[in-house]
């Protein structure tokens, strides 16, 4: 595996009124295999756009994404995606959802069932195999989404605010789960979040993006993800560096948000 290269990507959306939005400008990023990258930034700075380009749902106006030495032309099973919510198939049971990827590959049933059973155990849903997904709570549904993504054995897992809709407690449990899965599977993970704490805890490498045009503003290398594996996340949060970095990033994002507000007021 040779990781993922985001090579000088720019993205411009043409608007129906004739104008255009520069959602991303000259973003370059080299992500090593097995890296856990979290992306943070004010709303509208192009995080989702970036992830959609990596996933292959959008083609950039300039630049390219290279995964395993192949340029990305569209979505593919080597790049798994976990959405914020609503991406499970409600017409399928939990088991059918998780085995969706293997089924698409026409994997023999007993093999796919083995994968499903193992992953549902990992995410702690072995007792809910035959339940319908709409009978599960939001946190359980996200665990199913995670298991579904893992069942397809992607090299890279892309997550767009996967825990955004969960309550604080469930969210913290899920954060531990993501960390453990990362360590256990060694997958490359790109995780977009709105929460600075989450970005700190789940980012070996943390990227702060700035808006208008969307670009990389600052990059951090952080020890907290490594510390959090198999450990109590609240203990990690007590680390002196944690609070310091958090305040620094918060101040940075705060400033950017202020700037956006100021600009919109000017233009209004």
């Amino acid at each position: 595996m040779s990781g993922l290269l985001i090579d000088n990507i720019s993205m411009r959306f043409d608007l129906p009124n004739g104008g255009s939005v520069q959602a991303l400008k000259n973003v370059t990023l080299d992500i090593k295999s097995g890296e856990l990258l979290s992306v943070l930034g004010p709303s509208g700075c192009g995080k989702t756009t970036l992830l959609n380009i990596v996933a292959g749902f959008l083609a950039p106006t300039e630049g390219q994404v290279v995964v395993n030495d192949h340029a990305v032309k569209g979505p593919g099973p080597e790049r798994g995606m976990v959405f914020q919510q609503g991406a499970l198939f409600e017409w399928m049971t939990v088991r059918e959802n998780v085995s969706f990827g293997p089924d698409m590959k026409k994997m023999p049933r007993q093999d796919s069932m083995k994968i499903v059973d193992r992953l549902l155990e990992v995410v702690g849903l072995q007792d809910f195999k035959d339940k319908a997904v709409y009978e599960l709570s939001g946190g359980m549904q996200q665990r199913v989404a995670l298991a579904r993504c893992l069942a397809n054995e992607p090299d890279v897992i892309l997550m767009d605010e996967p825990l955004g809709a969960l309550d604080a407690l469930t969210r913290e449990k899920m954060q531990s789960l993501v960390l453990d899965l990362w360590k256990e599977t060694g997958k490359t993970i790109i995780l977009i979040t709105h929460s600075v704490e989450e970005a700190l805890l789940l980012g070996e490498r943390l990227l702060v993006m700035a808006p208008r045009p969307g670009r990389i503003h600052k990059e951090y290398r952080l020890p907290f993800a490594e510390m959090g594996v198999g450990a109590d996340l609240r203990a990690v949060k007590k680390h002196p560096d944690y609070a310091k970095t958090r305040e620094e990033i918060l101040a940075m994002i705060w400033e950017m948000e202020e700037e956006i507000m100021g600009r919109t007021e000017e233009s209004a």
């Binding site: 569209g74 409600e90 017409w91 990827g101 698409m104």
Partner: protein
């Protein structure tokens, strides 16, 4: 008049039964389920559940009103009925020379539907004979006649008298009361009047019940239903009529769905199909199927083909639009997720698009079935050999209101049953509907 009374009684039953049931529920049932513990129900749609007691009372009320306002023989509450029996009154004939004489008119008012009823031996009833009276004394002679209920008659009192109208005789009094032409007396048995031309006129009181021609009593309708079941109508049994209509609807609907659903999918999935069919679908959608009946008859004649094609067209656009909106209703995240999991286009269609569009398709199917059912009846009204619509139409021409009502009830019941059937199927095939 009767209509207004009916409405007033109906509203009264609605209100009174609501109060009584509310009181009884409070008195005899303890509040247990979650919904009943909600304090905010007005405005919370999920807290509004059909009160089954109200449904039962509603149906019973309609039945009771049906009995009360028709000439039913069921021993339930009845509104005041039409006069029936013998009424007698006198008239006074006065001659130009001042002589005058009284005579009696005897009128037998008989049930207007007597020929439609059977006596104990199964023989049809006959219009009764005029009551026997002797002619009496004087130059004015006693008269006798029969009038059906809800009817009325000009009474030519002079025809057996010694002095006729041409002799200058005029009627000056009715029942001893002086009347000039145009005036009237209200008796408990009916209305007695002198026309502008001076002829006595009698109209028996109708009460508040409806004549059989307008609304047959429940038992009359039931008997007719049983009889139709046994003997059929116009060469076909009731079941054959019903099946004829149902078969047309099913055929039209199935063809409409078979063509319309793929059409809708194509419109939801490709630019070319969307562009190609959009004008056609949008043009045909507002055209009511009924407006196509004449064209279908011109093109395909009055046989089965034209009816099935009509229903096919009625269902086609509805199903196409339902399938199209089913496709556009799919959350893009689901499609993206499926692609990321390695699904190909055909797999996306089978595993994501089609299941995701099922709720919309079922909604469309319910609408389409409703429209088809309504359209088939209308199409049969125009021309058909068999079918419920044809049965109603022909029966109406012969003023057989009971058959018309049997037909309407059957149409309603079957339409309702179809809808429930589709809903059951939907609950079974689309259990996730409304839960996400």
């Amino acid at each position: 008049m009767t209509g207004l009374i009916l409405l007033a009684v109906y509203i009264a039953i609605f209100a009174v039964s609501m109060v009584i049931v509310a009181w009884a529920t409070k008195r005899f049932f303890t509040r247990a389920d979650f919904t009943s513990l909600k304090t905010v129900t007005f405005g919370d749609e999920s807290a509004v559940k059909a009160n089954r007691a109200a449904s039962v009372i509603s149906v019973l009320a309609i039945f009771a009103l049906w009995v009360a306002f028709t000439n039913s023989s069921l021993p339930l509450f009845k509104a005041k009925g039409p006069f029936e029996g013998i009424v007698e009154f006198t008239y006074t004939s006065t001659l130009p020379d001042g002589r005058s004489d009284d005579a009696t008119v005897s009128i037998l008012v008989y049930p207007e539907d007597v020929q439609l009823t059977e006596d104990a031996n199964g023989a049809p009833g006959k219009i009764p004979n005029k009551p026997d009276v002797d002619l009496g004394e004087g130059f004015a002679k006693n008269d006798t006649l029969v009038i059906p209920r809800y009817g009325s008659k000009l009474i030519s009192v002079f025809q057996n008298d010694e002095f006729k109208k041409s002799d200058g005789a005029i009627v000056t009094h009715l029942n001893g009361q002086a009347l000039t032409p145009g005036e009237q007396i209200i008796l408990s048995e009916g209305r007695l009047a002198l026309t502008e031309k001076g002829t006595p006129f009698f109209e028996p009181s109708t009460g508040f019940r409806m004549a059989r021609l307008y609304l047959p009593a429940p038992e009359v309708t039931t008997n007719r239903f049983l009889q139709l079941n046994r003997e059929g109508y116009r060469n076909f049994t009731l079941l054959e009529h019903t099946w004829a209509s149902l078969q047309r609807v099913l055929l039209g609907f199935i063809f409409g769905a078979l063509v319309g659903i793929p059409l809708g999918y194509a419109m939801g999935l490709t630019n070319w199909a969307r562009g190609w069919f959009d004008p056609i679908v949008e043009f045909m959608r507002p055209v009511p199927p009924l407006a196509l009946i004449p064209l279908m008859i011109i093109w395909f004649g009055i046989g089965e083909t034209s009816k099935v094609i009509l229903l096919f067209l009625a269902a086609l656009w509805i199903m196409a639009i339902a399938a199209r909106s089913g496709v556009s209703g799919v959350a893009i995240a689901k499609v993206h997720a499926a692609y990321s999991l390695g699904a190909k286009k055909s797999q996306i269609l089978r595993k994501v698009i089609i299941p995701n569009s099922l709720p919309e398709i079922f909604t469309g199917a319910r609408v389409a079935m409703g429209v088809c059912w309504g359209t088939v009846v209308a199409a049969e009204l125009v021309a058909a050999e068999k079918g419920l619509g044809m049965m109603i139409m022909v029966a109406a021409k012969f003023q057989l209101t009971d058959i018309v009502i049997v037909g309407i009830i059957l149409i309603g019941v079957i339409g309702f049953a179809i809808d429930i059937g589709i809903r059951k199927l939907e609950g079974w095939l689309v259990p996730w509907k409304g839960k996400v």
